[in-house]
Amino acid sequence: MLLYAVRRIVISIPILLVSSFIVFWLGTLSGNPLTPLLLRNPPPPQSVLDAEAARLHLDEPLVPRYLAWLGGVFRGDFGPSVIATQDIGEELATRFWVTMRLIIVAMIVALVLAVLVGVYTAVKQYSKSDYAATFIGFLFLAMPSFWLAILLKQGGIDFNTIVGDQVIYTIGASSIPPPDGLLARVADVAGHMVLPTIALALISYAAWSRFTRASMLETLNSDYVRLARAKGLPRRTVMFRHALRTALIPLTTVTALDMATILGGAVITETVFQWRGLGDFLIESIRQFDTYAVTSWLLISATIVIVLNLVADLLYGVLDPRIRYA
């Protein structure tokens, strides 16, 4: 299994390289990072422009620039940012966990909800609650994530106004300055997470609950479940040990495939709730034509997707004993 994991990571390296090169290339095409300087009034002297161009390596051709950046990444240097005072690597490191805790908790919430609702609606197929859950699922599938997030944020603000106290946090990933004491700090972070997590989780929940329902229905109607029932096994055992475990296997694949979408969703959620996470970093970097920053973002987010994909694949082996990674 360890060998399998190592092999998977090795295979993904060329993909990472090529897609980071494409993003780098698109980034250089996407605009001139000197634009804010050029628009300045009075215009800065040519020597300043040349110095800035040299600092950002704009005077070098594309491929050597990319290779130099790539070499730097291995030494922990993610290249010069358009914002002279910003160290891209440091910035990414501090923002990494802000985004990760949002993504991971949202995924867990979405999965638990999706499995609960999916199983329930499969067991009670064509009941009123099944139809209601189906409709709600379709509704969330059709709902733009930014709209839902703003709605939740407004709900939080309204709730606070009614209660007359700051009960639900609606802005930022944590209070500034953070409260004293570890417990208070954890509670503060958790409080800030509630609404963004719900916003991010509901979008994935919709697709996953539909999928769990379909998958569960298929196993419930299979011969081995019928046999297990005919043997006189308790309903609970049949449900959980025979049906659910099999039904969950394809869900791990779907979850892994959706990982990139969740990262994209986090960009929007962070924008709405004004989190200083990876998504916010991406948006700011694109606005400033900061090619090195955007490419570094891609490298980090693609690595997250690859690692979480690998985790899902390894879980596959735990859920399905037939799969062995030799």
Partner: protein, 307 residues
């Protein structure tokens, strides 16, 4: 049996018409699909709602007394008869804005769906049909596009190209065709091994003829279902891009841009926020239901669980 003339061909037990056997109209595949689709209640309701919405945007919109971006003397007016969706802080009629935004968003998403489906289907079916190294190279290119994070690349490209609707459509289609090519390849791979393709080849049909006459008509169902779903996906991506400020720019308007403009004044002017969002949901929801209906219509076995 006085009138038994022909004993070699006994009549059926209760014949309504002796020639019925020959007059029963043959039903084509298309007719069967249409019949099944018409019986799908959610899909039919959705189709009606969507058609009404399109008519509202394209017929009522241009006839409406205010144009997109036109400033009226009333500002921050709540919904009323004069302004069904209210007005914003400078007095723009939100009804006109939402209809204009719906037109832009629909144009972008339909363009994305058609373009991505055309390119993706062509790409995927050529790869799947020929197989071998052609398949390997073509699908690796598609895979590469799939690894690019959608929202990041779309935002980057759209940011540079500017906010014209067809450029946004071009960018989104440039990322979505790879999904379609995967689907199309899968369909073609399974069809390629079918007996009727083999028969066509044995009869000496050319590659072009097999692709055009046999593969494409049979793959049409899956591709059409995918096309409808793409419209819904594209409208969500376009509005998200416009919301983030990388999509359609003023003076053009999009449903996402309207939500963006409205979000700061949600407490004082909630109508500005709810209507564009509602329109996005209605469009995406009805299209998803129509796609569901089409899927059931093309492949009635797929949704039924084995008993």
């Amino acid at each position: 049996m006085p009138d038994a003339i022909d004993t070699t061909h006994p009549r059926p037990a209760a014949p309504a018409d002796p020639d019925r056997e020959f007059t029963v109209e043959e039903r084509s595949q298309a007719q069967l699909v249409l019949r099944r689709f018409l019986q799908h209640r959610a899909a039919m309701v959705s189709l009606v709602v969507l058609v009404l919405l399109v008519l509202l945007a394209y017929v009522v919109g241009p006839l409406w007394r205010y144009d997109v971006g036109q400033i009226t003397p009333d500002n921050s007016a709540p919904p009323s008869l004069a302004h069904p969706f209210g007005t914003d802080a400078v007095g723009k009629d939100q009804f006109a804005q939402v209809l204009g935004g719906t037109r832009t968003s629909l144009q972008v998403s339909v363009m994305v769906a058609l373009l991505a489906t055309f390119v993706g289907t062509l790409w995927g079916s050529i790869a799947g049909y020929f197989g071998g190294w052609v398949d390997t190279i073509m699908m690796r290119i598609a895979d590469l596009v799939l690894t690019l994070p959608l929202i990041a690349v779309a935002a980057m490209l759209a940011h540079n190209l500017g906010g014209t609707w067809y450029l946004i459509g071009l960018v989104i289609a440039g990322l979505y065709w790879a999904y379609v090519s995967r689907v199309a390849r899968g369909v073609v791979l399974s069809l390629r091994e079918k007996e009727f393709i083999e028969a066509a080849r044995a009869l000496g049909a050319s590659n072009t003829r097999i692709i055009v006459r046999h593969l494409v008509p049979n793959a049409l169902g899956s591709i059409l279902v995918n096309l409808t779903i793409l419209v819904a996906l594209a409208i969500l991506l376009e509005t998200a891009l416009s919301y983030l400020g990388f999509g359609v720019q003023v003076p053009d308007t999009s449903l996402g841009l309207l939500v963006n403009e409205a979000q700061t004044a949600l407490t004082t002017r909630p109508w500005l926020f709810y209507f564009p969002g509602l329109f996005i949901i209605i469009i995406a929801l009805t299209i998803n239901f129509i796609g569901d209906g089409l899927r059931d219509a093309f492949d009635p076995q797929q949704t039924k669980v084995r008993q």
